[in-house]
């Protein structure tokens, strides 16, 4: 169980857990653990990317048509939204390091708002698809692109963006928890590990979208 090490002058001191000799090792372990966890997350999406690559090789034209049918304006706006939210998260890490947790909390609130905007736009896009009869798998009824390849494209579209949306939602929960901690002044200079790890996760969610964006909206 964590034992506190209270240097009196700090507002929000980092706590040293029993199993570590010093804070430096503890921070290193936390960062290292997060990075390798992110490697695992990348591999989770890698399976879907592999499926996309394989089926694109089989159904090249149908995939191009599917990509062309997707709304590139929404896709691109969402990319801009996620990139901006990542910028805000990066700035919040910077603010915490300057011992300004309230500032960091506000920046994180901005990032959360953008994350929500992303999900709303995604929902708008899904609704459009559903109206057209674009559903995954056997439920697919879009007459304009009726080939097996388009069906596969949209199935993969729903799977990749769906899995990504789950990650965005998880990321929002993490950011919300961090925001709350910031406003409670639980983080500060020398105690920025949690914010930084949460930020890393959010950046990963962003990076995955950077790959999904051309795959689903641009490459036609």
């Amino acid at each position: 169980m964590p034992e506190s090490q209270p240097p009196a002058e700090q507002l929000a001191p980092a706590r040293l857990a029993m199993q570590f000799e010093d804070l430096e090792k503890q921070t290193h372990a936390a960062h290292f653990g997060m990075w390798i966890f992110l490697a695992s997350e990348v591999l989770l999406f890698a399976g879907l990317f592999a499926l996309y690559a394989s089926y694109r090789a089989v159904f090249g034209h149908e995939f191009s048509a599917g990509v062309a049918h997707n709304n590139a304006v929404i896709g691109t706006s969402n990319t801009a939204i996620l990139l901006t939210s990542s910028l805000l998260v990066a700035l919040s890490v910077y603010a915490v390091r300057l011992d300004r947790p309230t500032m960091a909390g506000r920046l994180l609130l901005g990032a959360i708002a953008l994350g929500l905007a992303f999900l709303v736009l995604k929902g708008v896009e899904y609704t459009q698809h559903f109206h057209e009869g674009i559903f995954p798998g056997s439920a697919y009824r879009f007459e304009e692109l009726p080939q097996a390849g388009a069906k596969m494209f949209f199935t993969l579209y729903f799977l990749t963006t769906g899995l990504h949306a789950i990650h965005v939602t998880a990321g929002l929960v993490v950011l919300g928890w961090l925001t709350w901690g910031c406003f409670r002044r639980r983080y500060g200079a020398g105690n920025d590990t949690h914010i930084e790890l949460g930020g890393l996760y959010w950046h990963l969610v962003d990076v995955i979208w950077i790959f999904l964006w051309p795959m689903l909206y641009l490459m036609h």
């Binding site: 372990a29 653990g33 966890f37 490697a39 695992s40 089926y55 995954p136 097996a148 390849g149 199935t155």
Partner: protein
């Protein structure tokens, strides 16, 4: 045999602390513990239960196969039963067995750490495992997947049995694996005590570390792939369904991208246990430390490049088949490096014949025999003949099950005094060890012959000409089960009535034996500084003790 107190067994690290078993009383202190040793023990209980369950399913299968026609169960139950056997043994027993029990228990002590880097994550992985186990078992019993543990489409996407709940259970188990892997990798990297450089990490830690890399990178792919099969089955997504444009062979590629390395998730920890056992009972440093350490790493990396040999008959170009075959054989080279290094370590060693050492010899036979048949099936021309026959069943049971099981039992006996502070009955240990080996050979050697003669795997009935081989195999299965139960009883009896063991009954130099007979809650009062290697048998025990200090 190991009850006599060796001199210098007083705990090197300061005062007599309360040991981890008595550090807190009550159910709560166990269920909410973050102590890696207690979590290891709780995994021990769950995993042994799963072994018994998987073994019981195997006995039902073998009993059914006593006669060519129906014997005790219907064909539909038979299909569900071999699926259950595979699922339970692979995901609930073999994958978590050595890493989650013995890795959890000794890895932190072996690197001089007070706990894993993320103790709460470790506890969470236990609960996630338990939830995964409940979901998987409940789903297989209620919904009854009958696809085999490999879930090949198109059958798995069209079967009337429930698939989605089972794969959700396995997905949850995968999450537990990933949590453990993150913990082990981060711990090995960041928590080694001063003095334990990469060249002084015990070989078991190298093995667990390599295993964790595979778990971390391969498990997510499997989780996603079988989840897609579940979705295909219920919602007809058609990712692997040819009627909707999908490709079933693509599933096999993704599935084996995990499941082939998963073989090394199961066997690498076993190789680590064996390395420890060999060095301890030969009282010698390994003939080449780096050969063993890096071959683990080599197996972990090359293991990712061999998956295609499962698809030689599923449609593959000659070139690809050749490449996958060659990569598969590379693994045999790394394995052979280990085998030769162990044998060279024994050369001129002061060998003690205790139960763990006996298991090493069984392991060596099963691993080499199973490995050689593996090289044979990695050859495309031979694989065409043996594919989907009992030959393959016997091959992977030899190397994967035999390897893991013998090493698991070796570890259970080897670390027993450290985990519980008591000595088991050595004659009984040796006797049950013989029983396990004979049972194992009798079960699976006939299956090589049956497979070579053409008997397909997973069939409910067979022509009468195969019956004598099946009768032998079934007899062996009962012998194996009996020996396993006796081995378990031997350890359970020792738990209560065994004589007290000393801190280092095997006179090992590995670091986990430097703690008191039963380690205290946080292993070390202060993180130690260690100025020697884990296999410095040229030092006397006193000298070895003297080079471990608690000074900061």
């Amino acid at each position: 045999m190991m009850a006599h107190e060796v001199e210098g067994t007083a705990p090197v690290h300061g005062a007599h602390e309360v040991d981890y078993l008595r550090a807190g009383a009550g159910v709560r202190s166990w269920l909410l513990t973050t102590d890696h040793k207690r979590i290891g023990l709780m995994f021990y209980v769950l995993v042994v239960l799963m072994l018994l369950l998987g073994g019981a399913f195997a006995l039902v299968l073998r009993t059914e196969l006593l006669t060519p026609g129906p014997t005790v169960i219907s064909a539909a139950i038979y299909n569900r039963m071999f699926t259950l056997h595979g699922v339970v043994m692979v995901w609930l027993f073999m994958i978590p067995s050595i890493p989650n029990i013995f890795g959890n228990f000794v890895l932190p002590i072996m690197i001089g750490a007070k706990d894993l880097a993320f103790p709460r994550l470790n506890l969470a992985s236990l609960y996630v495992y338990a939830i995964g186990a409940v979901v998987t078992l409940a789903a297989t019993i209620a919904g009854g997947a009958d696809t085999g543990w490999t879930f090949y489409p198109p059958y798995s996407t069209t079967t009337p049995a429930g698939v989605l709940p089972v794969v959700i259970g396995i997905f949850i188990l995968g999450v537990s694996s990933i949590m453990t892997a993150v913990n082990f990798i981060a711990t090995t990297h960041t928590m080694r005590a001063r003095g334990i450089s990469w060249g002084r990490v015990p070989l078991f830690v190298w093995a667990i570390y390599s295993t964790s890399i595979i778990m971390l990178l391969a498990t997510p792919v499997l989780g996603l792939t079988i989840l897609l099969v579940g979705l295909d089955h219920v919602y007809h997504f058609g990712v692997f369904d040819p009627t909707l444009g999908g490709d079933p062979v693509l599933f096999q590629h993704l599935f084996w991208f995990y499941s082939h390395p998963a073989v090394y998730i199961m066997v690498l920890p076993a190789l680590g246990v064996i390395s420890e056992v060999v060095c301890t009972f030969a009282q010698r440093q390994p003939a080449s430390y780096w050969a063993i350490a890096l071959s683990s790493f080599g197996i972990a990396l090359i293991g990712f490049a061999g998956w295609g040999h499962h698809m030689f008959v599923a449609g593959m170009s000659e070139l690809d088949a050749g490449i996958f075959g060659a990569f598969s054989m590379f693994i045999a080279i790394f394995s052979a490096i280990k085998v030769f290094t162990w044998v060279a370590t024994l050369h001129r060693g002061a060998i003690q014949f205790n139960t763990p050492m006996l298991y090493f010899f069984w392991f060596l036979f099963l691993f080499v025999f199973g490995g050689m048949t593996g090289v044979a099936v990695a050859t495309q021309s031979l694989d065409v003949h043996w594919h989907d026959t009992y030959f393959v069943v016997a091959h992977f049971h030899f190397i994967m099950v035999g390897g893991t099981l013998t090493a698991f039992l070796a570890a259970a006996h080897y670390w027993f005094p450290k985990m519980f502070g008591r000595a088991y009955s050595e004659p009984m240990g040796l006797l049950t060890s013989f029983g396990v080996f004979l049972g194992f050979i009798l079960t699976f050697l006939p299956q090589f012959l049956a497979g070579n003669a053409g008997m397909p795997r997973r069939y409910y009935s067979y022509p009468a000409q195969y019956q004598w081989l099946n009768v032998l195999s079934t007899g062996g299965a009962y012998l194996l089960a009996g020996a396993l139960v006796l081995a378990l009883l031997n350890l359970l009896i020792a738990l209560r009535w065994g004589p007290r063991a000393s801190a280092n009954p095997w006179r090992s130099r590995s670091y986990e034996w430097m703690t008191p007979p039963i380690p205290p809650e946080h292993n070390f009062p202060v993180t130690p500084v260690i100025d020697r290697g884990p296999y410095d048998y040229h030092l006397t025990e006193e000298e070895a003790h003297a080079r471990v200090s608690t000074a900061r």
